[in-house]
């Protein structure tokens, strides 16, 4: 199997022109194998802690996990991501339609949603929620052992479990790779935002731009498969629901999250107060990571 598509340019140089499309199938197969293996081998409940009634004291019934802005970002980005994947890869595998214009417009929308996300994170959320610290690594190592059915006590997570943080960072790198190269590729195609400029880079540099765009796109195929799989796994569905309605129950919170690492006050109650509760009227993010 080849990794790159290459060609002889008019000057006789052998330059890359893109990633090999065989890798699409490699990503799909690896994704499918991962899903099947995980579904068969990993127990549904990986050693969650018991609920300590004393910890429950003073906590609201519903705890806000995702603000409306974060949920809006997540779903808008998902739609643009699906459109980008479909427009990029369906024509390659033989389902043909005029894809380029839909693709770059979805790409521009993705960029806008990412910009909004960055603003939202800095203005309304706590960026430290996504950092992977030493405790996360320990949590990850123990989680892995638990998944392998070893008799370990799996610690509770901060606001985001370490596997979600890792997914987030992988998705960030691949999306940024696709975005940066995608913007450059806009100079190659007809659009009303950027002028056509074929001479911006050498043939080889352009080739690597296409390769990186393709590699990131194909990597995202795998990530999306894994992400959708985890979103529908029975023991993770409460997290998926929280991305729809914004909150989780007190029980889910205590069972899966360490109140020391994700401190919640009564003011973080969701439901009727949804969207305004977090911050408790202080203007500060209340759902902070104290780890």
């Amino acid at each position: 199997m080849e990794f790159l598509r290459r060609a002889l340019n008019p000057w006789g140089e052998n330059v890359p022109i893109g990633v090999s499309w065989d890798l699409i199938w490699a990503a799909v197969i690896i994704g499918a194998v991962f899903v099947v293996a995980h579904a068969l081998l990993v127990p549904k409940k990986v050693g969650a802690g018991e609920i300590d009634e004393s910890e429950a004291k003073g906590l609201p019934d519903r705890i806000q996990r995702h603000k409306p802005g974060a949920r809006g970002f997540h779903w808008t980005m998902s739609v643009t991501m699906f459109v980008l994947l479909i427009t990029a890869f369906f024509p390659v595998i033989g389902i043909q339609f005029p894809w380029v214009t839909i693709h770059w417009i979805a790409g521009v929308l993705l960029i806008l949603t990412v910009l909004y996300h960055i603003y939202h994170v800095f203005a309304k959320q706590d960026i430290r929620n996504m950092w992977i610290g030493r405790r996360d690594m320990k949590e990850g190592a123990l989680g892995l052992q638990a998944a392998m059915r070893r008799p370990v006590h799996r610690p509770r997570a901060a606001k985001y479990p370490v596997d979600q943080k890792m997914f987030h960072h992988a998705a960030t790198i691949l999306t940024l790779g696709a975005v940066v190269t995608g913007v450059l590729m806009m100079y190659r195609v007809d659009n009303f935002l950027l002028p056509q400029n074929t001479y911006m880079f050498s043939d080889a540099t352009w080739g690597w731009v296409y390769v990186i765009h393709g590699v990131c796109g194909i990597g995202l195929i795998f990530l999306v498969i894994a992400h959708v799989y985890f979103a529908i796994r029975p023991e993770k569905r409460w997290m998926t629901w929280s991305m729809i309605n914004g909150w989780i129950t007190r029980e889910r919170y205590l069972e899966n999250h360490d109140p020391e690492r994700w401190a919640v006050t009564e003011a973080d109650g969701a439901g009727e107060m949804e969207g305004t509760a977090a911050g408790g009227g202080t203007g500060q993010p209340a759902l902070s990571d104290k780890a």
Partner: protein, 333 residues
């Protein structure tokens, strides 16, 4: 880089005699196989060593797809392997579809028309020389169009329908077949499919590496012409740099039904302005119910070029298209 050589690289040659054998071989070899009709486009590619198939399926002995016969409902069936000369000189074609006879008769030279087939003529690849020189452009699977840059030589390239690739469809018979509302019959191992001529040609927005719907394994077997409009008027004009042996810079084909001095029905198609023959639907709607006069033609020409976008060296094509469309209405006889 393309270097014209006399020696064609070796390939396995198959000479089936039946359609079923041909499509089976085509399927067997997929995109490593090549269908050979008259060879006029084919041998260019082979000699330049740009296309190097492992197997060539020569259709010369498949008699079932050669010749002209009566079709259903008063139409005509033309086998894909019928030579352009036979199409241009057939009494039936000249009598009932003079538009097609004229278009076929204007292809290149008598020798090329003797050797070239109708199927090969409509399935032929674009003449963009960057592509035909073996440069790795979009159409060749690459990531750049050499003809669309600010310094490119693009006098023959398109003014509409581009999507990254700006090449044009070079066929003279293609616009005539679209104007006559022909149907293309395609066989493969999974059966037979029929495409209206207008849908048979595709643009680079859908597939940048193909000019028609034909995929590896698809054999164009025949072209069905529906019953001609009674007393139809028609017009075909091909503009080229030289009077003989030259591809068109632009061609126009129109077929028109006129009653009581008014256009009742009309189909106008222009080729070599886009990567596919362009049927002018908006023009057709605008001129129905009007007299085929100078004014109508003038108006039609203006509508036809709306949205045209020129490249560095081809803005002459806008004026040319305007005039050809006008003439195709005013001078249709």
């Amino acid at each position: 880089m393309a270097v014209m050589r006399d020696m064609i690289p070796p390939f396995e040659l198959y000479q089936p005699t039946e359609v079923e054998d041909a499509v089976r071989l085509m399927r067997q070899h997929g995109d490593r196989g090549w269908v050979l009709a008259g060879g006029l486009d084919t041998f260019d590619w082979f000699k330049d060593r740009i296309k190097r198939p492992e197997a060539v399926i020569d259709l010369a002995a498949v008699d079932a797809i050669r010749g002209i016969s009566a079709g259903e409902d008063g139409g005509l069936r033309i086998g894909a392997m019928t030579s352009l000369t036979d199409v241009a000189e057939s009494a039936d074609v000249m009598d009932r579809y003079p538009l097609l006879a004229e278009a076929a008769g204007l292809v290149a030279t008598p020798q090329i028309r003797n050797q070239g087939t109708l199927g090969g003529n409509i399935a032929q690849d674009t003449r963009c020389w960057y592509y035909r020189s073996g440069w790795p452009c979009y159409r060749a699977g690459g990531n750049v169009c050499y003809a669309a840059t600010s310094r490119a030589m693009n006098r023959e390239h398109c003014i509409m329908g581009a999507s990254r690739c700006v090449a044009v469809n070079p066929s003279d018979t293609a616009p005539a077949l679209v104007a006559l509302d022909a149907e293309m019959v395609v066989a493969s191992t999974s059966g037979e499919r029929t495409y209206p001529a207008a849908d048979f040609f595709i643009g680079p927005d859908i597939d940048i590496e193909r000019m028609t719907v034909l995929k590896p394994g698809d054999l164009l077997t025949r072209i069905d012409l529906p019953a001609a409009w009674p007393n139809a008027r028609w017009y075909f004009e091909k503009i080229r740099d030289r009077k003989s042996w030259d591809f068109s810079l632009m061609s126009v084909a129109s077929s028109m039904r006129v009653e009581a001095g008014m256009i009742q029905d009309v189909r106008i198609v222009v080729n070599s302005v886009a990567p596919y023959p362009v049927r002018l639907g908006a023009v057709e709607s605008a001129i129905r119910g009007r007299a085929p006069s100078e004014e109508t033609g003038q108006m039609a020409g203006e509508i036809a070029v709306e949205g045209a976008r020129t490249l560095r060296h081809n803005d002459y094509k806008v004026a040319l298209m305007r005039n050809l469309v006008k003439r195709s209405i005013r001078d249709a006889a």
